[in-house]
Symmetry: C2
Subunit: 341 residues, 2 copies
């Protein structure tokens, strides 16, 4: 890695179109002068989207890619057939050391498949785990896996605990508190897989294992890392997104019911908007694919400019923190979790 | 069943003590003149809790039980050792046909174990499934199982679909739309168990199966019944409870930040309180234990008077709707789902 940081950005994916990636990139390079961006996509189309009065920032380089992976593409077909896509080309820049990280808002399955093929995982890692920082009162709680691995054997959950500890270790010098997601905090609760994983976590002195937690603990900040099967993590994430959206809709509905409430809602609306933004786990943007040899960050498909910018911020942080190298240390070299401070 | 309805109430359990069950019962019998209640618990203690100016309503009969099952009791130990508990005695009234339904806010595991032992499940039902109506925009969405059965084979999910259809069939004449909880709506997503369950549901013409749904669909009202493994259901329920509580706390926090917001919050507070009450899945009270030969309703342990009253309302409805008999028809006699209208 050179002194400067280079991030490859898949500019064509995402529900809101390439405009989001362009405008977020323009803001990002101004905010972070040590980072250069490689904006990958259809060059003519990207340039046509720039407002007439603006030129592309000098630290943003366009890299042409003729094709695009759509949200409906089958991941394995995309892997075989879309080698000219912006997603592939962006990952290939990372593979060739022309970039230090890659960010995409595209099809999660295709990104996982291509990243695994081009960037490779560490030995013993079957598929990268998807890990996200959840909104909590203070600090962060990292939840993983969020859907890449279903039917995880205890060994996978052990790997997730180590990788999550690396990520959480940067926000605080103390050893991150790691828990396993279960349907009760009692020792005898849960599946055989969880009981076996608990033994692995308890006997690894690099992990500060604190026990089982229930899914409501995701939002309390009581632990720093919550480890789960990708199936369970995905259900927890989607259920909480659904509940948050339901609440937001309910608030608008109540607010519209009568004149007094409508007056109130005018006053409260900015506050609620802020709340909604802070809450929505989809907007809490920038999921890491942990277990890859280099940093790949998945932005939510529906990300707006602010959210996409956040995904770029996460990518930059993980390059600076050398997350993949530190994961290699604990997973492959089996050294103690590096002391961050 | 006699013309009058009799509900046995385990009055001693619940985090807020027996006062909740007593006051809810007093209100309930006034609201529903066709129902008599059997209030089970320590007679002297229950009478001492009645306000001095009040006597017990004439349609409430006290039934003495010396012992209590606590929230920390091991379910199987409670089953063996607590035959004098209010929970056991209330269920025994149901078993002896002295009551038509039983309501308890106690230890879920103990209630499941005792209900299974005393009331019995239908053949092929291993453990009763816990089923709850979730808050949605309009109508209800029933989610089951919420934690009684972990590691469900496809046949269990098939049974849950049938039982959920019976329950949902009463709220609307149309055939309830049934979905399986998965981590994507696409056919190829999910575990082998889910794929096998999907084939069972598709090939049973008594079930209006509409496909896989993700956990955010729990709150949209797009389907009437969502079927899942008890582990997955419990995670979905707890994650959404956690998100709702986090939002409520965030609102109070923002509201306290400055004087203007504090003024606002005074105005908005009643509205938010109502919202919180409507939202909290724990307060959306009264979970059914489906697959038992008689009606047993679990109230949330933290239920207040209003929530406990709601659990009694659910018990009364299911007695009138003859839910267990109709479940027997579809599960045991394998008849078509009864036409409700």
């Amino acid at each position: 890695m050179s002194a400067r940081i280079r991030i490859a950005v898949d500019a064509m994916c995402g529900d809101l179109g390439p405009r989001v990636a362009i405008s977020a990139s323009q803001k990002f390079v101004i905010q972070f002068p040590e980072v250069d961006l490689l904006l990958v996509g259809n060059e003519a189309q990207l340039l046509s989207l720039l407002p007439k009065t603006l030129t592309l920032h000098e630290r943003i380089t366009l890299v042409h890619a003729a094709d695009v992976v759509s949200m409906h593409d089958d991941p394995l077909l995309a892997l075989r057939q879309k080698k000219d896509s912006s997603m592939w080309v962006a990952l290939d820049l990372l593979r060739n050391n022309d970039a230090d990280a890659c960010v995409s808002a595209g099809n999660t399955g295709a990104l996982l498949a291509m990243a695994k093929f081009l960037i490779k995982t560490f030995p013993t890692i079957e598929r990268p785990a998807i890990c996200k920082s959840m909104p909590v009162e203070a600090g962060s709680t990292y939840l993983l896996d969020l859907g890449a691995n279903i039917n995880c054997p205890p060994e996978y959950l052990h790997q997730f605990a180590l990788m999550g500890s690396v990520l959480a270790g940067f926000s605080d010098g103390a050893a991150p508190r790691v828990a396993l997601l279960n349907i009760g905090a009692e020792q005898q609760k849960g599946t055989d897989t969880l009981k076996a994983a608990q033994i692995l976590l308890q006997s690894d002195d690099r992990i500060n294992y604190v026990g089982f937690v229930e899914a409501n603990s995701i939002f309390t900040g009581a632990v720093d890392v919550i480890v789960c099967d990708g199936f369970h993590g995905n259900i927890a994430l989607k259920a909480s997104e659904g509940a948050a959206l339901f609440i937001a809709n309910k608030i608008s509905k109540i607010a519209k019911q009568n004149l007094f409430n409508r007056f109130l809602s005018l006053l409260v609306l900015p506050l609620l908007k802020r709340l909604q933004h802070e809450l929505n786990p989809s907007v809490y943007n920038g999921a890491s694919f942990l277990g890859l040899r280099k940093t790949v960050i998945k932005s939510h498909g529906g990300a707006d400019e602010k959210a996409f910018l956040q995904a770029l911020v996460v990518a930059r942080e993980q390059v600076i923190q050398k997350v993949p190298a530190r994961i290699q240390q604990v997973l492959v070299d089996r050294t103690k979790l590096p002391d961050v401070r």
